[in-house]
C-alpha cells in the first residue's frame, strides 16, 4: 500500500516537472534558430556553462551560501517574533487589544519601502538584509499564527478542560496542534516573501550574494550570469517550498487532507 502510494506520488511529481522542462527546451530551440537574440536572452546551455564556470572558481557556492545564510537568519528572527506575537495575541485578549492595532498598521507598510531608511541605519552590511527579510516574514507568520490560535474549536478546548488539561498542557496538546495547519500556511507564504525581499535587498545594496552577482554581471554585460542568478532564485524558492511541504506532510499526518 505504502509502496504503491509512493510510486503514485513519484509519478505525479515527475509530471509536475514536464512544463518547466518543456519551457527550457522551447527556449533552447528559439535561441538555436536565432529567433531569440543573444542580447535579450542567452541560450540555456550558455547559462549552464556560465554556472559551471562559476562553480569551478567557487564563487557560485560562496554566493549561494551567503544568500541562503541571510535568508534563513532573517527568516528565523522574523519567524520567531511573528510566532510569539501571534501566540500572545491569540491567547490573551489583553495582549490583543494592546498590540494588534499597531501590528495591523505596521503590516500595511510595504517593508521594501523601508530600504532607504534601512541603508541609512545599517549601510549595506548584513544587518540591513537580515532586518528586511525578518520584517517581511514577520507579518504572514504573525497573522496566520494569530488566526490559527483564535479559531481553535471552542468545543475541543472545553472537552480538554473536562479531561483535566489546563495551562501549558492545554496549549501543548490542543491549541498548538489545532493552530498548526494555519501556522504552516504562514510559513510557506513567508518563504516566498523571504526570497523576494532578499533579491531586492541584494540587488540594491550588497557586495556578495546572488543579487550582487547579478548586478555585477550587468556591469560587464554578462547576460548569461544575470539569467543564471534569476534561475537560481527560482530554484531556491522551489527548494524551500518542497522543504515546507515535507514538514507539512510529517506534522499533519492526522489531517484528512494529508491521508
Amino acid at each position: 500500500m505504502q509502496a504503491k502510494l509512493n510510486k503514485k506520488f513519484n509519478r505525479f511529481s515527475l509530471i509536475s516537472w514536464i512544463v518547466p522542462i518543456l519551457l527550457l527546451v522551447i527556449w533552447q530551440l528559439l535561441s538555436l534558430w536565432g529567433i531569440l537574440s543573444e542580447r535579450i536572452l542567452p541560450a540555456p546551455t550558455e547559462v549552464f556553462h556560465a554556472g559551471v564556470a562559476l562553480l569551478k572558481t567557487g564563487e557560485l557556492i560562496d554566493y549561494i551560501g551567503i544568500s541562503a545564510q541571510r535568508a534563513f537568519i532573517g527568516f528565523f528572527i522574523g519567524g520567531i517574533i511573528g510566532f510569539v506575537l501571534g501566540l500572545l495575541n491569540g491567547l490573551s485578549s489583553i495582549a490583543e487589544t494592546l498590540f494588534d492595532t499597531s501590528l495591523q498598521m505596521l503590516r500595511n507598510i510595504p517593508h521594501l519601502a523601508l530600504i532607504p531608511l534601512v541603508i541609512l541605519w545599517f549601510g549595506i552590511e548584513e544587518e540591513a538584509k537580515i532586518f528586511l527579510v525578518a520584517l517581511g516574514v514577520l507579518f504572514p507568520i504573525y497573522l496566520n499564527t494569530f488566526h490559527g490560535v483564535k479559531s481553535v474549536d471552542k468545543g475541543l478546548i472545553e472537552a480538554a478542560r473536562v479531561y483535566g488539561l489546563n495551562g501549558f498542557s492545554l496549549f501543548w496538546n490542543v491549541i498548538l496542534p489545532a493552530a498548526f495547519p494555519s501556522i504552516l500556511v504562514g510559513v510557506r507564504f513567508s518563504l516566498g516573501i523571504m526570497w523576494v525581499t532578499l533579491i531586492v535587498a541584494e540587488t540594491i545594496s550588497a557586495n556578495s550574494g546572488i543579487g550582487y552577482m547579478a548586478m555585477n554581471a550587468r556591469e560587464f554585460m554578462r547576460m548569461d550570469i544575470v539569467v543564471l542568478s534569476i534561475l537560481l532564485y527560482a530554484l531556491l524558492g522551489k527548494v524551500s517550498d518542497v522543504f515546507a511541504k515535507i514538514v507539512e506532510k510529517r506534522c499533519l499526518k492526522w489531517h484528512p487532507s494529508y491521508q
Binding site: 478542560r161 473536562v162 483535566g164 489531517h255 484528512p256
Partner: protein, 249 residues
C-alpha cells in the same frame, strides 16, 4: 455502593441575561443510578448537564457533589459530548489517555477492548465512522473512572442500528462499572430502555420524575415498556397544558 446521594441540586437556577433557562430545580441522584433527562429542545436539559459538569455556573441555588458544594469544574464527572470531540491530531489510544498521568496505557487499552475497538489503537480519529468515534469518546470518558458520567445526547447523530449497539454498550459498561449516569436525550424510548428514572423538563422546570421498574435488559416488545414509553411521550407532547399535574408513579 448504592447508598447516599452522589449528586444533589438545590434550587438551581440559570439565566442568560433576561432569559431564564432553569427556574429553580431540586433533584437528587443516588450513587450508581441511571437517570435519563428528556424534554423538547430548548427546555434546558443540556444546560442542566453543563451546570453539573461545572462548565457553567448556576445563577442561583447549589449543586452538591458527594455532599460538597460544586465550585469550578466537577472533577468527579466526565462528559461525553454529542459530537464526540476527539482530538484529530492524537491517535485513538492517545485520545483515550488525554489528561492521564503515570502508566495509563494498559488502562486505556482495557477500555478500548471493552468498547470493541482494540485493533484501532494506532489509527487517527478521522478514519473512524461516527459510531466508532462515539465508542472512543465513551472509552475516554470512562478511563478516568468517574463517579458520574454525563452523556449529552451522545447517540443523537448516529443511525438507528449503530444506536442500538451503543445503547447496549452503555448499559453493559454502566452495570460493570457502577457509576452514576446522567443521560440527556430527546428519545423517550431510549430513556425508558436505559434509565432507572426518567426526568422530564419543560420550560426550565421538572414536570415529571418517574421511576422505571422494568427488569434489565429491557425488551422493546415488552408491553409494559411500550405503554410506559407511550405514556411519557404523550406527556412530553402536551405542551405544558398540565404543568401543575405532574405525573408521579
Amino acid at each position: 455502593m448504592k447508598s447516599g446521594n452522589s449528586l444533589e441540586l438545590q434550587g438551581v437556577k440559570k439565566d442568560f441575561g433576561e432569559f431564564e433557562v432553569l427556574k429553580g430545580m431540586d433533584l437528587a441522584f443516588k450513587k450508581g443510578e441511571f437517570i435519563a433527562i428528556v424534554g423538547k429542545s430548548g427546555c434546558g436539559k443540556s444546560t442542566l448537564l453543563r451546570l453539573v459538569a461545572g462548565l457553567d455556573k448556576p445563577t442561583g441555588g447549589k449543586i452538591l457533589v458527594n455532599g460538597k458544594s460544586l465550585n469550578g469544574l466537577n472533577k468527579s464527572s466526565r462528559t461525553m459530548f454529542q459530537d464526540g470531540r476527539l482530538f484529530p491530531w492524537k491517535k485513538i489510544l492517545q485520545n483515550i489517555g488525554v489528561g492521564l498521568k503515570g502508566d495509563w496505557k494498559p488502562k486505556a487499552m482495557e477500555l478500548l477492548e471493552q468498547v470493541g475497538l482494540a485493533d484501532r489503537a494506532n489509527d487517527w480519529p478521522s478514519v473512524l465512522s461516527g459510531g466508532q468515534k462515539q465508542r472512543i469518546a465513551l472509552a475516554r470518558a470512562l478511563v478516568n473512572e468517574p463517579d458520574i458520567l454525563l452523556l449529552d445526547e451522545p447517540l443523537g447523530a448516529l443511525d438507528a442500528l449503530t444506536r442500538i449497539g451503543m445503547q447496549r454498550l452503555i448499559e453493559e459498561l454502566w452495570r460493570k462499572r457502577n457509576f452514576t449516569a446522567l443521560l440527556v436525550t430527546h428519545d423517550v424510548e431510549e430513556a425508558v430502555l436505559l434509565a432507572d428514572r426518567v426526568i422530564l423538563i419543560e420550560e426550565g422546570k421538572v414536570v415529571m420524575n418517574k421511576e422505571i421498574n422494568l427488569p434489565r435488559p429491557r425488551q422493546k416488545d415488552n408491553l409494559q415498556y411500550s405503554s410506559l414509553a407511550a405514556q411519557i411521550l404523550n406527556r412530553v407532547m402536551q405542551e405544558g397544558q398540565m404543568e401543575k399535574q405532574a405525573i408521579h408513579a
